[in-house]
């Protein structure tokens, strides 16, 4: 424990860390002035004894696909470079209303389309674990002699900037978005907690959409309790988002579970795929055994339609993308080309210049699926498959299972040079395999870091809960987190003078004055 610290001091330490870790490329925009001003106001409140709550004075970061009033919001795309929204996303506003300090906007794949955080116009995000003592020592042991700097690891994505920002201690919590696993995947690769709340629990207003029917604001933190605290602030009906639940949401508090004997943990057999790395598989088994040994009922379950999830997602995602991206025409905001031959020519050039190949490719596919002659064969069928996938989960939960336990990713993070050997589409299909069906069904899921691989890299496991049973899910995740005691990232070599902050990793240990 640091003893007491003022919000301004905390903010300055984080800003200093952001500068030191600039090479990670986690942030697109650092809102230093805004953060310091917010810290100042927070400090005044603490002095008066009128703190707004757990998040008052706490540095946070926000993925650059959430609208932030007065702060550039780019989606890592040329299309929105220079676009400054005139309003705050509801989730951003809720955090600010609680006194949180907005440190900046984090990097991502362009319009969140990707699973590596490698495909944005601001370049790839580097995984902080690439520079950790744990990883470096293992590499020395394994006598790798290549140039270390060229072998940095990807963060996963698309919320890689947010995951890296939390992992590197530049903030306490970050907002990501999760459409097919974009919060949980980088959380697993960066050794942090990544929560995807139930669809409809948290407002999407102000989140620049990828797939409206699957997008959920995600939460990245260094522990489950912190995720619960942030979710407690964000959850609830938003009159600006008609898909949020009407029922009032009670504050989230996570009791520490002492007895898991009444729990039933489901292990979906379809998630045991050939591509799953043996290390992840073994950690998954160990986790199941842990629950069993503590008295929980652990049972194998089947989600028979999960294997169709990726191809089904491809159709639904690209169709919505084609639709959602139609507004980017260069007229009202964002990039506009120089051509003024005709409106049509302007549209075409603007969109060619504004979007990368991945976005354009999805727009083209999506429009193909939505054509009158294809709609029934693709879109409607995909929707039916989606229903079957969602029903699989319903059946499993109706059979008495409380929580499903699965891997989050196939393996630990891979080096960038390795990752880019496959194209974005192939990577997305592979990397979303365990996370994506959850979005189809709108369920809550959380990736919890479990242990380090033989290479010294984090591996996460995923818990999936019943719809709107986010609290129950987090209670189980918290119990599990306590059992596994995941090690803290060792970044001292990089940031020697900031070591004291590293102990100060969780919200509960921060004592602001």
């Amino acid at each position: 424990d640091l003893g007491q610290i003022t919000p301004t001091e905390l903010c300055q330490r984080c800003l200093s860390l952001i500068k030191k870790t600039k090479f990670l490329n986690a942030y697109i925009t650092v809102s230093e002035e805004v953060a310091l001003k917010q810290a100042e106001e927070s400090e005044k409140r603490y002095k008066k004894g009128h703190s707004l709550g757990d998040l008052d004075g706490i540095p946070i970061a926000v993925k650059d696909n959430f609208s932030t009033s007065g702060i550039e919001t780019t989606c890592a795309s040329n299309m929105l470079k220079g676009y400054v929204p005139p309003y705050n996303a509801t989730v951003v506003q809720k955090l600010l209303d609680q006194g949180a300090l907005l440190m900046g906007k984090t990097n991502l794949d362009e319009f969140a389309m990707g699973s590596g955080s490698t495909d944005g116009i601001f370049g790839p995000v580097k995984n902080p674990w690439s520079y950790s003592k744990q990883y470096r020592e293992k590499r020395k042991q394994n006598s790798h002699s290549e140039n270390e700097d060229s072998n940095w690891l990807i963060t996963g994505g698309s919320s890689g900037g947010s995951a890296a920002a939390v992992s590197a201690f530049t903030c306490f919590a970050a907002l990501g978005s999760d459409t097919g696993g974009s919060t949980r995947n980088p959380a697993a690769h960066c050794g942090v907690v990544g929560l995807k709340p139930s669809y409809g629990l948290v407002s999407r207003h102000g989140l620049i959409p990828l797939v409206n029917s699957m997008d959920v604001p995600g939460i990245l933190t260094r522990c489950v309790d912190d995720a619960a605290t942030v979710l407690g602030v964000l959850a609830g009906h938003d009159p600006k988002d008609s898909t949020t639940i009407q029922d009032p949401v009670k504050p989230f508090t996570l009791p520490s579970l002492t007895d898991v004997s009444k729990l039933c943990i489901g292990i979906p057999k379809e998630y045991l795929t050939p591509e799953l790395s043996s290390e992840v598989q073994s950690l998954w088994s160990k986790a199941a055994n842990l629950f069993e040994s503590e008295g929980a009922k652990v049972t194998e379950v089947s989600l028979p339609h999960t294997s169709y999830s990726i191809v089904c997602y491809h159709v639904l995602c690209t169709s919505e993308v084609a639709s959602n991206m139609a507004r980017f025409d260069g007229l009202e905001y964002g990039h506009r080309c120089d051509s003024d031959v005709s409106t049509e020519a302007m549209y075409a050039a603007t969109r060619r210049e504004g979007f990368n190949d991945v976005v354009r490719g999805r727009i083209l596919s999506g429009n193909f699926f939505l054509l009158k002659e294809n709609y029934e064969n693709y879109f409607v069928k995909a929707q039916k498959v989606r229903r079957l996938i969602a029903n699989d989960f319903v059946n499993v939960f109706n059979s008495g299972v409380d929580v499903l336990l699965t891997p989050t990713t196939l393996s630990e993070a891979v080096p960038y040079t390795e990752f880019i050997k496959e194209d974005n589409r192939t990577r997305s299909a592979q990397d979303d395999i365990f996370t994506q069906a959850v979005n189809m069904a709108g369920l809550p899921a959380v990736s919890v870091p479990v242990a380090l691989s033989s290479q010294g890299l984090p591996i996460g496991l995923q818990f999936i809960g019943r719809a709107f049973c986010d609290q129950q899910l987090l209670i189980v995740a918290k119990w599990f987190e306590k059992q596994v005691q995941f090690p803290v990232i060792q970044l001292q070599e990089l940031m020697d003078d900031c070591s004291s902050v590293f102990e100060n990793e969780k919200l509960a240990s921060v004592s602001l004055k």
């Binding site: 959430f66 929204p85 309003y87 999407r204 959409p209 029917s213 991206m325 009202e332």
Partner: protein
């Protein structure tokens, strides 16, 4: 769907449509032809100058035309369909644009309750089935005044379906020959309006005004149950009255609150329907009728000359009076419909299905809306006929003129005069004066109270009918005098003393020996001759039917006057 077959006129009534072409068959002939229809119809759209009466060639059936309509009615609401922006006509450009209307990324639609209620009420008024569950869809196309690149509409499951709209058309020369026709309402859907593009050809620029973008529209699809411009125009007029009575739309065509596209095809009876064209952007009832009739005749001519009809979109050039192909849409449009993921299904309830404990702000009860429905025009007309004994066509006129019914009812409320007399005065005298000066009812210088007082004087026999006319003219000058004051000033009271009256008669007859010899009832009676010369004194056992022949304005036609009266008339009284 059954093709609306020709409603053949009775044999020998071939030319009946010279007055109104509705429900008739269309004949060959150049669209340039013109018939003089003699009397102007009750409706401004009645004339069909292009249809000439020409006998069909032997053995060949005539052409049947099939007309369907797509109508967009702007919903009268304070705010837009999915955003909180104000709805206001003629506001400064781009002054009523929310972040959602400008399609800023991340904004989401929030359905306006008022717009849903308007759709339900309109659906109920048109005897539609109200879908308890309806869905929203996105319809995609790129256009500069469609900021999101798609319009939110209800393609798959609209809010109301399977209704009907009844309207009356005149089929003969006499106004009393009205028949009721019905057009089926296929569906009513809620959708967003687009913005407006203003093309500056000089600087080759397009300017965009998004004030209109996102205003709620009711799209009403009327099945092709109509067969000519007059029918379509009358149906639209009836719809307009219904929307206005409901308050769901101001339905002013000139302000673009009611926009009509027509689908038109021709075929020979017994054969399949022809290829249709769509005529767009018809912004007045008169142009609607003209455009449809032109297009019908154009198609007939085209086919008669061995040509073919293209499935195309045409616009009506009101200056040239013809339809021309629209250039803009090259190739086939594919709107790539998909469900709107940001709006859950729209659920409506009735008193039976209302979930218990539901927040009244969050649910819409169809039964409650049904109870709140105002009297519909059809019922109002029936009531007027029954209550006041007026002719059906008079009830039509009362409703068709904006504000006239209210004026009429206010007069009725304040006068002891017979309803028939009130009807006559309002429809002939009052409306006539308005028409002559091209004024709206709201601009009338004569208030309902003043007319009521005048009619009371007439009813008490304090003044004669011609004197009442004179008083009315004085009132029209709007010099702030009451009818009683005018009567007193102008000495228009009836003479009640029989002796004085007789004396007056004698002196008059003696003064005009040339008039006295002509027996009454032979076309021109004494009064008429006298009036032509404008003597100060007028003997008038006049019959109203003959009055117009006297050079009186046609609208000043009074109910029969059943007493002989003398009246002093100043020289400028006859207009």
């Amino acid at each position: 769907m059954a093709a609306p077959m020709l409603r053949w006129c009775c044999p020998g009534r071939r030319f009946a449509f010279a007055r109104v072409g509705c429900g008739s068959c269309h004949r060959r002939g150049p669209p340039t032809g013109s018939t003089s229809n003699g009397k102007r119809g009750q409706s401004s759209v009645a004339q069909q100058p292009h249809i000439t009466a020409q006998k069909p060639r032997k053995g060949e059936p005539e052409w049947a035309a099939v007309v369907g309509l797509e109508i967009h009615a702007q919903i009268a609401s304070n705010s837009k369909l999915f955003s909180g922006s104000q709805v206001c006509f003629a506001a400064p450009p781009n002054s009523l644009v929310s972040f959602f209307d400008a399609s800023l990324p991340g904004t989401l639609p929030v359905l306006n309750r008022r717009c849903v209620e308007a759709a339900v009420m309109t659906g109920l008024a048109l005897d539609c089935h109200i879908n308890r569950k309806s869905l929203f869809d996105r319809k995609h196309y790129f256009y500069a005044d469609l900021p999101a690149g798609y319009q939110i509409t209800q393609q798959r499951l609209p809010i109301a379906v399977n209704g009907s709209l009844a309207y009356s058309v005149y089929v003969g020369r006499k106004p009393s020959q009205m028949v009721t026709r019905t057009v089926r309402v296929k569906q009513i859907q809620l959708e967003q309006d687009s913005g407006k593009s203003l093309h500056d050809d000089l600087r080759s620029q397009t300017l965009i005004d998004l004030n209109r973008a996102g205003i709620g529209l009711l799209e009403l699809v009327l099945e092709p149950d109509m067969s000519c411009g007059e029918e379509a125009a009358t149906a639209v007029r009836e719809l307009q009255l219904i929307l206005q009575a409901l308050g769901t739309s101001q339905a002013n065509m000139a302000e673009g609150q009611l926009r009509v596209d027509a689908n038109i095809s021709v075929h020979r009876p017994g054969e399949p329907l022809g290829i249709r064209t769509e005529v767009k952007n018809l912004n007045s009832a008169r142009f609607l009728a003209k455009a449809i009739d032109y297009e019908i005749q154009r198609q007939i001519n085209e086919l008669e000359n061995g040509g073919e009809i293209l499935n195309e979109t045409r616009s009506f050039d009101f200056k040239l009076g013809c339809t021309v192909p629209m250039r803009d849409k090259e190739g086939k449009q594919d709107y790539r419909f998909m469900p709107e993921p940001n709006l859950p299904p729209l659920l409506l309830y009735d008193s039976g299905s209302l979930p218990s404990g539901a927040d009244p702000q969050q649910v819409i009860n169809i039964d409650q809306l049904r109870e709140r429905l105002p009297e519909l025009p059809r019922v109002t007309r029936q009531r007027l006929v029954q209550q006041y004994g007026m002719l059906p066509e008079h009830s039509c006129v009362l409703l068709n003129e904006v504000g006239l019914l209210e004026f009429f009812q206010n007069v009725i409320k304040e006068t002891r005069a017979e309803p028939k007399k009130v009807t006559s005065w309002v429809l002939n005298t009052f409306l006539g004066f308005l028409k002559q000066q091209n004024l709206a009812v709201s601009e009338s210088p004569v208030t309902p109270s003043a007319l009521a007082e005048l009619l009371d004087l007439l009813d008490r026999k304090a003044i004669s009918a011609p004197a009442a006319k004179q008083v009315f003219e004085e009132l029209w000058r709007n010099e702030g005098k009451t009818p009683a004051q005018i009567v007193a000033e102008k000495k228009l009271e009836l003479l009640q003393d029989p002796e004085a009256l007789e004396q007056l008669c004698r002196s008059t007859l003696e003064a005009h020996p040339d008039v006295v010899g002509i027996p009454a009832g032979r076309g021109r009676h004494a009064g008429a001759v006298a009036s032509g010369r404008r003597p100060p004194l007028l003997l008038s056992p006049c019959s109203p039917a003959e009055l117009p022949d006297n050079g009186w304005p046609g609208f000043i036609r009074d109910p029969p006057i059943n007493f002989v009266s003398f009246q002093l008339k100043s020289r400028d009284a006859i207009r």
